[in-house]
Symmetry: C2
Subunit: 283 residues, 2 copies
């Protein structure tokens, strides 16, 4: 028997992975979760048929969502993660001794519980006592605290299904208010290459730009996401990811990382012309 | 009818594109050439079943193979392209008025002729009177001239089939001798992500490093190549791609590019940690 998992990048283009077996699947009130064992990517899981995390390249995404803001403000103490139920983002955050509090809000407790069972490589992040999990709507949660967080990481799915509310201007506004004066927001920003993704990248960027003082975009090579060219948005109330990059301070922490380094920190913000043009075009 | 073109990244992982039709195919003495019309990528062509060039993202590859060395030495006058029968590399080179001579050596004349017929977007490069084409073995051709070229671009297929001889130490040695004292070699360097490609990246790098004084690697986002993370090797007799980057001079030329810019020039050389480690590991 041959079993192939396929993910459509567009209606007429897809990426397929041969899998050894489907380990588990469950329909929750929010989405369909499934775990697979593959040949090339180790174990991976999907939400509504889209690959979220696999053992081979999750380090790239989690390095880039966490270490970029931490190297701009190594004094970050209070962090909010919205989404990220697989635990990989929390795992990277928990490597910083200086962080005091990590709140993780995921609408679907089953993602966390199942990742703890089937994907311990990422879900080990939940073992840290500084991590407090909330299983509720991130859109509502972020309204609760004002001027509280140093860092908010929006570790969301694509802007369809349960992740949709995380791409609205109201939500970004609430994030702005929940951040203190040195606050940084990192937003899962989709991809510039295929038009269906690029449209969402552009929309998220325009919304963030209308709210935050500093608003930049950075890229990384994520082979299992559509086109392999993926982006995060960096928004803040003043800190600039390049001018305020505290390279020496971050390097003095001695954290071993497989993707991120101080060179990548700079290079990630240097975007191809067509991406810059799309981000800055009037439409 | 549904017609899908699939390319295997590994035996257990593939990328598939729905095509409208196969336009043409031909078995030459060297390889099988085929042209297709697709929905997402416009027209594309394959050699022995592997996608070489498509209308949607060929600009990325051709920007990065040409403009990086040209921004390090804008006084380049004599260029040799080995492979590159699609004409995209020559098209970008011909935008520099200062270049006097472009020799293109492709073992298979049919690639050039068929691209002229079916892929004029790239093959228009051959219309420039400074371009002289040689349909012979690049490995033999490069032995003919000593200290002659300012730039050699190895625009090859993967190191199997007709492209195999272009990945040997003898060939790189002959390139070294064919370059003058300011000479630069750019080498198609494969990809760091999947082991089968990473092995070739490493081998090419080690060989070039044993011959050239300066040997760096730079990356770009190439969505239709395996993993989307692709590399070129930059080797020279002394010119450094960053220290000798002539940003102002290049920008003064006023060339409009869709991927390359002076920021990308720098950022492309800033590699992820796992790529640096693989390149510099002893094995």
């Amino acid at each position: 028997m041959e079993l192939w998992f396929s993910e459509k990048n567009t209606e007429t283009c897809k990426f397929s992975i041969k899998v050894k077996e489907q380990i588990y699947s469950e329909q929750t009130p929010f989405q369909k979760i499934a775990f697979f064992e593959s040949y090339d990517f180790g174990r991976f899981f999907t939400l509504d048929g889209l690959m979220m995390v696999n053992e081979k390249d999750e380090f790239i995404y989690h390095d880039m969502i966490v270490h970029v803001p931490m190297a701009v403000n190594p004094d970050i103490k209070k962090v909010l993660v919205i989404g990220g139920g697989d635990g990989g983002t929390v795992r990277e955050l928990s490597r910083y001794k200086s962080i005091e509090t990590i709140h993780l809000v995921d609408i679907d407790e089953r993602v966390v519980r199942l990742c703890q069972k089937y994907l311990p490589q990422t879900a080990c992040g939940f073992d840290d006592p500084r991590v407090k999990t909330y299983f509720e709507d991130g859109v509502a949660f972020v309204k609760k605290n004002t001027s509280y967080y140093d860092l908010i990481l929006v570790d969301s799915t694509d802007p369809i299904g349960p992740g949709e509310g995380l791409f609205t201007k109201d939500f970004y506004n609430d994030c702005y208010n929940a951040l203190n004066e040195n606050g940084i927001l990192i937003n899962q920003h989709e991809s510039p290459y295929f038009e269906n993704y690029a449209k969402e990248m552009k929309k998220a960027h325009v919304k963030l730009k209308s709210i935050f003082d500093v608003c930049k975009v950075y890229q990384f090579h994520m082979p299992t996401y559509a086109s392999g060219h993926w982006l995060f948005g960096f928004a803040s109330k003043g800190l600039d990811p390049i001018k305020d990059h505290r390279k020496d301070k971050w390097e003095s922490l001695g954290l071993k990382t497989k993707y991120y380094n101080s060179g990548i920190h700079l290079g990630a913000f240097l975007l191809p012309t067509y991406v810059e043009e799309k981000l800055n075009s009037p439409d």
